[in-house]
Symmetry: C2
Subunit: 643 residues, 2 copies
């Protein structure tokens, strides 16, 4: 029987069907293949294709707001196209716990919510086998697929071997392979100058070989200061039969203090020629950083030019500027990374097959991922017409709520210290759309429904959106119609190259009940071209769409593929989204003001009385008629009532 719908077995196993057979074939779209590959396969493919890559190392933050900032950094640095990121295991930070600052939670957030292939460090010394197994089980449950197996530092001054425990990273590698077989890809550390505790450089190389033989898949090295150091080490690795990828650890010097601290920890010696430059400028952070960038760029160039290095691993120290600068100068930072899907994907293995989502969460993808994280299966090919998708509650959605909730003063500056009328709310929306500063000189960079400034795609509709928001059509989501643009289009493109993407025009907004009355009259004239859903907070629901029939509003046609239709307007999900969308008025906006204050009552009034409306223009090859619908609605609304 054709297993018609599950295009992927859904297992997290590494061997993808595409790779199981060898036959003459053209290049299947890389974006698509990588989605189903494990990290070591991605590396192998890149090495074979001669493509370069980079990866980024972060450490866990110390505070919740630090975590929120780090996650934003993941999003920004993720857009440059790292092959993976890694998160260090900080024994002091309760690394395997559920705290928002723990290594485990940070790494899992990177995978699940930022869509980044993530490598979680894990140390083994001073821990029981049971604890380690628990950590690994938890990592697996959270969607992590890659572990960097480390010994970790001893607690005391002297290293004491434990007979029954894990004394070396190799023990951890063996344990992972024994308990989890091939589930995890395993990385181990290499020391270009030998580990400081090792008897000798050669002895240390032998230990490295043992880790690989025990089942490790690739190596990331300790930092170093000269390209020869790494290249000699690499040659020595190859000489003793280490054939896996060895990624040089690049440390762009970013300041005098951090350099000294790192050197102390790693027991490395900074070459005199570097110290000679740095010492005189040690109080000039900018100068040191610029020097560090220059140094890193030239070292990376030497490594890449050797032809032996394909990927560079960056110790970012959780900072952006220096690393991005080095990558840009190397031409390795992707300014405009291709989007595999029109929405931000998750990298959780169980979501690998996911390729359809409701359009409603387009500006809140993390909320969507959060609310669907308990699902066992994800829609693939079709959304289908289930009557009960079990959307989770938003209550534990703290990390991302924090982001927009924390700077209350900031929000008041954007959304108004005081609101006088519904019209003041219209103005906030209008300033958000226009991007112009409001009368107090503050730009409205976000709204409760939109974490970020207007997407480039929405910008295509800017003029129309401004006009309608001013009149009280408070738009929170929209897309233009697209009739077969290349999939490489910088604004509306997504998916593998040489494809064609399509969209139906979509508009979603809050508006008053008076406006809705006019709209409903007008919509009669647009049947059946326009589909609509009109709901209020009490669940009153007016629609001309079939109850359980989703409407595909974004789709793509690609060479040698089935059709992909990544966004739909699903009537059932809309009811769940409606609750979230209305709640945001209160949770994120009204609560900025004192109880009983006029400002708060205005927002409360809107929450209680406005409707949430979505409109789809089904005739995607024609000019978008939704603006005309709104125009007609204004006219209808303004028409003197006949009595």
């Amino acid at each position: 029987m054709v297993n018609a719908n599950s295009s992927d077995s859904g297992t997290a196993s590494c061997s993808s069907a595409e790779n199981s057979k060898e036959s003459s074939r053209c290049s299947t779209p890389v974006l698509d293949i990588e989605r189903h590959e494990c990290l070591k396969e991605k590396m192998r493919r890149r090495v074979e294709a001669g493509d370069r890559w980079f990866s980024l190392e972060f450490f866990p933050p110390r505070t919740a707001s630090g975590a929120v900032n780090l996650i934003s950094r993941f999003d920004r640095m993720g857009s440059g196209g790292p092959l993976f990121i890694d998160v260090t295991w900080h024994p002091a930070g309760d690394p395997g716990s559920d705290k928002e600052t723990s290594s485990m939670i940070i790494a899992s957030t990177a995978v699940n919510f930022c869509g980044l292939e993530t490598l979680l460090h894990m140390t083994c010394c001073n821990q029981t086998k049971e604890d380690i197994t628990k950590h690994l089980q938890k990592a697996k449950r959270l969607g992590l697929k890659n572990i960097m197996a480390l010994r970790g530092d001893p607690t005391g001054e002297e290293w004491e071997e434990e007979a029954e425990g894990f004394n070396y990273a190799v023990d951890l590698v063996k344990h992972i392979r024994h308990e989890f077989e091939d589930y995890f890809d395993i990385c181990v550390a290499g020391y270009p100058r030998g580990h400081p505790d090792a008897e000798s450089y050669d002895q240390d190389l032998k230990h490295l070989k043992e880790k690989i033989d025990a089942g490790a898949d690739f190596i990331i090295t300790q930092l170093f200061f000269r390209s020869e150091t790494f290249l000699t080490f690499l040659k020595d690795c190859r000489a003793i039969g280490i054939t896996c990828p060895v990624l040089p650890g690049i440390f762009p010097i970013q300041g005098y203090g951090s350099l000294r601290q790192l050197v102390k920890l790693s027991k490395l010696e900074v070459p005199q020629e570097i110290m000679d430059v740095i010492e005189p400028i040690k109080d000039n952070d900018a100068a040191i950083r610029n020097y560090g960038i220059d140094l890193a760029v030239s070292m990376c160039r030497e490594l890449l030019d050797s032809g032996l290095v394909h990927g560079l691993h960056f110790y970012t120290l959780n900072r952006e500027v220096a690393t991005i600068d080095v990558l840009k100068r190397l031409g390795m930072w992707k300014e405009d990374p291709r989007r595999p899907m029109p929405w931000a994907m998750s990298a959780h293995p169980k979501r690998r097959v996911e390729d359809v989502r409701p359009i409603f969460w387009a500006s809140r993808p993390k909320s969507y991922i959060h609310r669907t994280q308990e699902w066992d299966e994800f829609p693939n090919g079709r959304w289908g017409n289930s009557s009960s998708p079990a959307f989770g509650e938003l209550k534990d959605y703290y990390l991302f709520y924090l982001k927009s909730k924390s700077p209350r003063e900031e929000l008041l500056k954007m959304w108004g210290q005081e609101l006088n009328s519904e019209e003041s709310v219209f103005e906030v929306f209008t300033y958000y759309i226009s991007g112009e500063p409001n009368p107090n000189g503050h730009k409205v960079n976000c709204l409760p429904w939109n974490d970020d400034p207007l997407a480039p795609e929405t910008n295509l509709l800017k003029n129309e959106l401004q006009k309608v928001n001013k009149r009280g059509i408070l738009t929170i989501n929209s897309q233009p119609n697209v009739n077969g643009k290349p999939s490489t289009d910088p604004i509306v493109g997504w998916g593998p190259s040489r494809g064609y993407v399509f969209q139906k025009a979509y508009l979603e907004f809050f508006t008053s009940s008076e406006m809705v009355s006019a709209l409903i009259k007008v919509l009669k004239r647009y049947e059946p071209r326009v589909n609509y859903h009109i709901v209020n907070v009490h669940g009153q629901n007016i629609t001309n769409a079939a109850d359980l029939q989703p409407n595909a509003v974004t789709w793509g046609i690609f060479p040698g593929r089935e059709i992909i239709q990544p966004t739909v307007v699903d009537p059932v999900s809309f009811v769940y989204w409606k609750d979230e969308a209305f709640a945001l008025w209160i949770e994120q906006w009204a609560k900025l003001y004192e109880e009983e204050s006029p400002s708060r009552m205005i927002i409360q009034y809107i929450h209680d009385n406005y409707y949430l409306v979505n409109l789809v223009d089904n005739d995607f090859p024609l000019e978008n008629c939704l603006w005309q619908v709104i125009e007609d609605t204004f006219k209808e609304h303004d028409r003197p009532t006949d009595q």
Copy 2:
């Protein structure tokens, strides 16, 4: 959890989700809804919408070739858009057996292979409860959903009640409801003049009411000769509380003999004014038929004009002309029925969700249905990438094989009494494409891979196809590219109205190994625009497509719907199709000639040495490049070899 892929529960239960809630909505495409409705729901919807319908009654044939002819008739009469057909239960004909002429097999063929909603008659007298249950179970297994519950005629002269058995149709209705609950829709017979065995007209009406109360869903009446007869009966039915649909049985008089026979069987009296017209012309079949048609048309008009009749049921006597003529004159025959899918659907309940098929069987849809009839699930939304679709063997495919196999002499006239070379085969293909008679004056109406003359869609490519067949590119399947034509397009349209349909250009052909060598060189220049699969009978397989990745080549975008992509080029299915396609050379063509004859050896040579090729041009918005590929291949083939 969203049940992402099974858009339908797959149960055969009648209550479709679309109907379970009442809300304001626009008309969802009827074609689509009807696919998921049971017969009584279809009627209800048509009554509510004020749409008229007709249905057609057939009796089982006596011979296997009669069965083949009847099935062709189902296809032709099915194209006029009957709401359903019914097949009578002929006690003499072993009606529940597996014989190709049995009522059961004929009805199930109509459902499964002709895609017709079918009502199977079943009589109950002189049968045990167990036998009847077995019949019903078998009917269910074969995909039948509707039973016409009848008493049947007594065996002896006198009617004897059996204490334990079924004496009346009402017993059968009760039995069906008791044993099968709501699975079957049940029809019962009504007698506008009362059943001849009934004590009185009123008594007979009461019996009818009992059958309805026992669970019957609608009524078909015995034939009658005056519209008042039916309208009075209908009024009387309504008066005693029968509210279900009552379909008048229309009998267009087609000849003197058949009229007399029917009158005798049904114990009806033909009105004198009709006999007065018929008697004088009783030896003039054409005159009687014309009169019968006139009479039926005016009676039907009166019924429809009453506003009380929505559907007409025709006693066809297994003939086409009179019934079609009546329907055409009433404007009820659909000259150009909308295609819900680009391929011929099956009406088996388990295939309701089926909406994707490989393109290969486009000209042999019955073979495809036959080879997939054991599947428990059918692809819905996506074909997916199973590596082992279990296609059944063709061995039991007798009914349709018969059709093209039987007239050997006919086939020889079309395909050549004698073949002299491969070129004579090229000519056969070319005449098939051109539609011109061959030098012996015979049109080539079919080929082993194409049961019917060229489809209108393929006709769009006629000139190109003729040219390439002449040169030995022996095409067996093709479609032009289509970039967003209305779904109502008379040639390439399908699916609900107000949609847009798309296609990638497709070409499938046999050709020599020399031509394939040239083709492969040429195809390098068309990477990755063109996807290809090239196989020979031994299974050698050359392709540039991903092993398990189907390529959607037909898709449609509809208002308020997810994307539908009904045909794909699936690499795995192609291997199964290849076996069928090569076998047809031998089974249907070579075997027309004597063993060892030159003609047979030519076909055998082609079978053994040619390749089967399919090509897809992925760039559907551009001009189809496949003709250029073939053109280039001819040039490459003709190029003097450089040595």
